[in-house]
């Protein structure tokens, strides 16, 4: 196994208050705990906490993908309607392709819990060899959103040339279509 077999996963917490230390980051730890629990292939995280500033978020995602070699970047926070919520805009700006199915499915799943799920503007996209996925900021929404999209993520990363990711199928069964 070479270093390139280790999946590097970016975890980007987007929060003015958490970035200033006023508020404890709970989204980042929830995401790392999720992967620690479900992944069986080797991985390591590249974690950052940034304020709700579009240019800074774009720079953070670019650094994670282009410099740190992440094949997956999960953001948490900054997806609502408030003036400072700009995570989706930053994501769209740095992605080559958008993946509308991720946001659609995560909103559908979150709607079963709260009607305000439609206020989340979370999206996903591809930058080079990395998949970027926005999650809501609420820690309790992170697990339900990840459970919804995780079955499709390893195959997506296969298709963009990343490492082969496996999971504990008793927790999350990933799906890969049979080769034609």
């Amino acid at each position: 196994m070479t270093d390139s077999d280790v999946a590097r996963i970016g975890v980007l917490t987007v929060s003015d208050r958490a970035s200033q230390g006023i508020y404890e980051d709970r989204g980042g730890p929830a995401i790392r705990e999720y992967f620690a629990n479900v992944l069986t292939s080797p991985w390591e995280d590249v974690s950052r906490i940034e304020p709700d500033v579009q240019s800074g978020l774009e720079a953070a995602i670019k650094e994670m993908v282009d410099e740190q070699g992440c094949c997956l970047v999960i953001t948490t926070g900054g997806t609502g309607p408030a003036p400072r919520d700009v995570t989706p805009e930053a994501t769209e700006a740095v992605c080559d392709k958008l993946m509308p199915g991720f946001g659609e499915l995560m909103r559908t799943v979150s709607l079963r819990a709260v009607p305000t799920a439609i206020l989340s503007r979370q999206t996903a996209g591809i930058r080079g060899g990395a998949l970027i996925v926005n999650l809501p900021g609420q820690p309790k929404a992170i697990g339900e959103c990840m459970d919804a999209v995780m079955p499709a993520i390893p195959y997506c990363i296969d298709l963009i040339g990343g490492p082969f990711i496996t999971t504990d199928s008793s927790k999350i069964a990933v799906f890969r279509p049979k080769k034609k």
Copy 2:
């Protein structure tokens, strides 16, 4: 209670024929009746009827938000595939942020009634301190779409700095997450 506590709601009927008086506006009255029935906090409408011309629709939404101080603008009509249907384009052009969850949910709900619901291109977005939501033109679709999105609208308006809107919970139960 100051004037700023009164929620001003823009109601924009988009129809070539209704704007010329050839056709009675039925969408605008249906929207006003909806709010009269469910809202318990003070409100007043700012109503306009405009033809299907993108520049005129953009001007009407801007006037309602920037001059009239509306915190919510509901449009009806002009969301289909026909050449003159340009309400979503006008909405996107004047909004700072788009809210894709509104259109997704309204189409999902309308699909239970008619398969042609996928032809509606209705969207929503934020302009300054106002939420703009496109509804279909058919009066009977207005109630089902409003019932779907109304539970999330007051909290959305809280997040963008607008007045505190309340409803008769026996008709529509609005949802506000508990403060962290």
Copy 3:
């Protein structure tokens, strides 16, 4: 019946390998077979096989609509996250209006079969008097996606000035709202 009553349907297979003859086109035949099975009004196909090159796909769609007079163009393939998948980008580039409800519904339906359905970026839109719809490349997904959107397609084509399309209602019941 004049020639203009014959619905011309573009069938665009998007595949590097099929366009070079390395791989048999299975998507194009599946689409033609679908229409042969459900349509009862006169139609004829205009079929092309193109590699995954955005400029070539844009040219093919334009030729089908602007030169060949197609009222409907169905593409198959090129909607995934891989670097060469550019069918949605080509579609957006040549369309006057986008129809987000088509992609949303097709992903929802495909999700019942496979969790990787969220990786399909398929969209739809209007160019002049034609509806363009992206389908996935997998032949088995073509029938389920067409069954989902076909009930709304004839009315959509009515709204953009195309021929009156009818189907065998024992196979697919199309829906047209009653005139107001």
